[in-house]
């Protein structure tokens, strides 16, 4: 068996290494994509441009403004003298957040009447807006509590302790960096695209150039041909996966918390799913162009949108949720996030592994049926 595979594997290696483009696609594009996505696909909300219109101009109002400046989320870019400027700044997206402090602010505070502060948030991006609103609420509430406790301390009548205080601890990604969440997803995303495209193209290319005919009339079995052809791609994809992990470690401090062996095995099963899809596509397309289009169509968007990479599957409508069950990345993502971020073992995601294996059996079975029917 191996004796017959050897010449095919050797040939395929030569072709990959000779074709610089394929080599680049397999090895460097993934790491490059990771850098791009890792920095650009950032859901962290920081450096929010802040504008302040302080009508009050008292120590109390300045104190409130300072609370915002001392938090790490805001950049105080504008100090307004005119209420009309507010609209303009928001329209031009120069400010995301405007704080307007009315001129009776300190008076009301001193009288204990309940002062008001007007907050305007640019809600064009709902996600960012809700995060900003959360920051603002917590800053103002903290400031309010501070004032209350100071008042009680001055009065010396009684000591007051705040009855409830949350102590939130965030596990797995304590700094709440979105890169940590995204890198495992990116591995899933990039591996799926590169394996499906490269395997389907390499098989269809032989069909297109007629070389497959020459091999079919030789004593090599088509299955041997396909194994021999895909093994090198699998190897390159694995190298690529570890390159992504290395880049993730160097640039985003992402360490694999779980078992390296488990990570390797799960990745291997996932790669097989990609290879199977690539082989299946090659049985239904006659030209490299068609193969490329089908491959891109069924990998890029579905893996990006329907896998839980960026958007949580639980928030999707029922119908779409059903569709996600046929996206292999959906399963792999759970496993790889578990292993890399949480250090979880097989017990946490064995169901996903089983689903992936079932997917592999189905896709290889389908390809086998197609191949037998058409003798390639």
């Amino acid at each position: 068996m191996f004796k017959k595979l050897k010449p095919i594997i050797k040939k395929e290696f030569r072709q990959i290494v000779r074709d610089r483009r394929i080599l680049a696609v397999l090895l460097f594009v993934p790491a490059f994509l990771l850098m791009m996505f890792g920095y650009a696909l950032n859901f962290d909300v920081k450096h929010i441009s802040l504008a302040v219109y302080d009508e009050d101009r008292t120590p109390e109002s300045r104190n409130l403004i300072e609370q915002f400046i001392h938090s790490e989320y805001f950049d105080w870019n504008y100090y307004l003298n005119d209420k009309k400027a507010v609209d303009k700044l928001l329209d031009n997206e120069k400010a995301k957040l405007v704080i307007i402090i009315p001129n009776n602010f300190s008076k009301k505070l001193k009288r204990g009447e309940g002062a008001e502060v007007q907050i305007i948030i640019d809600g064009a991006n709902a996600n960012t807006a809700s995060i900003i609103s959360g920051y603002v609420n917590s800053i103002i509430q903290n400031y309010a509590l501070k004032i209350i406790s100071e008042i009680f301390q001055h009065s010396k009548v009684l000591r007051l302790n705040i009855p409830l205080e949350p102590r939130a601890r965030i596990w797995y990604n304590p700094e709440l960096k979105s890169a940590k969440f995204l890198v495992p997803g990116l591995i899933a995303f990039i591996l799926m695209i590169t394996t499906v495209i490269s395997t389907s193209l390499s098989i269809v290319r032989e069909k297109e150039r007629g070389t497959i005919e020459q091999i079919i009339v030789s004593p090599i079995h088509p299955i041997q041909l396909i194994i021999g052809k895909t093994l090198p791609y699998m190897l390159f994809a694995l190298v690529s996966a570890y390159l992504i992990l290395t880049v993730g470690y160097l640039l985003f401090d992402i360490e694999v918390k779980g078992s390296q062996f488990l990570l390797f095995m799960v990745t291997l099963i996932y790669l097989l799913a990609g290879l199977g899809m690539g082989i299946f596509i090659s049985t239904i397309s006659d030209s490299q162009q068609v193969a490329f289009q089908i491959s891109a169509l069924i990998t890029i968007l579905p893996t990006f949108i329907l896998s839980g990479f960026v958007f949580p599957i639980k928030n999707m409508p029922m119908f779409i949720q059903v569709v996600t069950y046929i996206i292999p990345a959906r399963y792999f993502l759970v496993a790889i996030r578990g292993i890399i971020l949480k250090g979880s073992g097989l017990g946490a995601f064995w169901k996903e592994v089983v689903f992936l294996l079932i997917f592999n059996i189905l896709i290889f079975g389908l390809s086998w049926l197609r191949m037998r029917k058409i003798k390639i």
């Binding site: 010449p7 074709d19 005919e213």
Partner: protein, 314 residues
Amino acid sequence: MSEEVIIVNNLSKKFGNFTAVDNISFSVKPGEIFGFLGANGAGKSTTIRILCGILSPSSGKAMVAGYDANREAELVKTQIGYMSQKFSLYEDLSVEENIIFYGGIYGLSFAQIEEREKWIIEMTGLAGSEKRLTRELSVGLKQRLALGCAVIHQPKIVFLDEPTSGVDPVFRKNFWELINQFSEQGTTIFVTTHYLDEAEYCNRLMLIHSGRIIAGGSPGELKARYITNPILKVECDKTLEALEILQKEEWVLEGSIFGAYLHIIVREELEAKNKIKEIFSERSISLKRVDRIMPSLEDVFISLIEKEEQSNRL
């Protein structure tokens, strides 16, 4: 034990309602150059694919090198070489790498591959170009290299499917010299072509039309058997009109246009020559020359196909 290396009995292949190969039978002797002649879509490639064991026949049987091409396809494959008009080489691999690859998939040892590589390089005249990428070679050289790779395992039978299409005439001639050498060394050559001039190189020919064999024999036999009447080559103007007029005459058996000339098969040479002159002067068609010519295979082929079509219509 039968002497023939290919025996085909009542072979048919249907694709749905379409009959690509219709109940054909023939046999090929060892060392023969056997030509399979027919227009595109006549069933040549289908037959070759059945013989190579990559397509199953609907009915009938084909024995190749002593094995059943359908049931023992894997054994057949070790005995045959195959080259198609696409010259299935890897263009992004070098000459040498192509040879090593094809040697490898036929299970040759390293030493065997080395020896065969030497032979192929010599045969193709590619000495010094071993490291060149195949895509840089001329069509003629590619064709030779493809042939070399197809026979790297020294098969008993070589199937050539339209091996010379797209190759210029000088290379075509060289190629046929190579084929002749193989045949002299005892290799059986099964070749399909639609170039009728090439068919002359074959020892034996089968003409196939709409899946059926309509004639067979050596080129000489075919000419003698099927064209007994004289053929005249007529050089004149208004060839289309002239042909229409002549075809109405009872002494003209067949007529067709060959390039700028008419070829007509007539009952008797002298009578015909006189009548042509008469008719042409009446119709004011200027006649340059009329000569009797030796029939070419093309004449035979056209004549046979016309008869076949007529009998189909009846």
